[in-house]
């Protein structure tokens, strides 16, 4: 948001691999940041490939505890982290006072059901794949209390519910010339 009130969108794309209960790899690229986030069940690594730097920290042993630790202790967020949590429903529905089925929509070529919810500070819209397997397709969160009501939106494509992972998927091996740097405490 500019001081003038003009709203600017920052877009990025993330590719995520999750293996429950305790592995995550998120590769994010976009106009603000290019970053790799790897969690192997013990260690969390943050790596900026272009800057050739990475930081590592010991992390809790479940995906949910790690996401909470990263957010509250390190101020680090995984792309769409709330949606990776196995308790995503409880997190998103926290404080929701009412909801509405808007109707049908097509998001990136997939027919979806469009639902909206209202909580004390945020309005939420969610689009779910129509049919027997209601995977989330899109989520838009509007923080309506802040000036000009900033929004966070994520569209989830290329779902693969039976992925195969290689030995390297959740392992971080620093490239030659990469420097290990500190993670400042919050």
């Amino acid at each position: 948001m500019l001081k003038s009130g003009q709203k600017i969108e920052f877009k990025h794309t993330a590719r995520l691999a999750v293996q429950r209960p305790n592995k995550l790899r998120a590769e994010r690229s976009g106009d603000l940041v290019e970053q790799l986030f790897v969690y192997d069940g013990r260690t969390l690594t943050l790596h900026n490939p272009k800057d050739k730097v990475y930081a590592q920290v010991a992390a809790p042993d479940t995906l949910e505890a790690m996401l909470e630790f990263a957010r509250t202790k390190l101020d680090i967020v995984a792309p769409a982290g709330d949606l990776l949590d196995k308790n995503a429903y409880d997190i998103l529905m926290d404080g929701v006072t009412d909801g509405l089925v808007v109707g049908k929509a097509v998001i990136e070529g997939v027919r979806c059901d469009h639902l909206v919810f209202r909580a004390p500070h945020v309005d939420m819209q969610v689009w779910l794949h129509e049919g027997a397997q209601p995977l989330p397709r899109q989520l838009v969160i509007t923080t309506r209390d802040l000036p000009n009501a900033p929004q966070f939106a994520v569209t989830m494509t290329n779902w693969n519910l039976k992925p195969t992972f290689g030995a390297q998927t959740f392992k971080f091996t620093p490239a030659a010339g990469a420097t290990k740097i500190d993670l400042l405490p919050r």
């Binding site: 900026n48 800057d51 730097v53 390190l74 740097i181 500190d182």
Partner: protein, 66 residues
Amino acid sequence: MNTTRILKALTVTAARPAGTPAVGTVVNALPAGCKPETKDGVEVQNFGGVTYRAAFQGNNLVYVVQ
């Protein structure tokens, strides 16, 4: 009068003229024209006698004045 102390103070003043950032200052970007060097075994960027060390602050890459 403790001349060593005064000399030290002068040296520090010379290395850090008025307007240079204090040790521990966190900046989001390095000044243009920084030169990489190694200080105490750590890679830092030097700009006019002020050295900056890279660190993550949350998801952001920042530089801390040494």
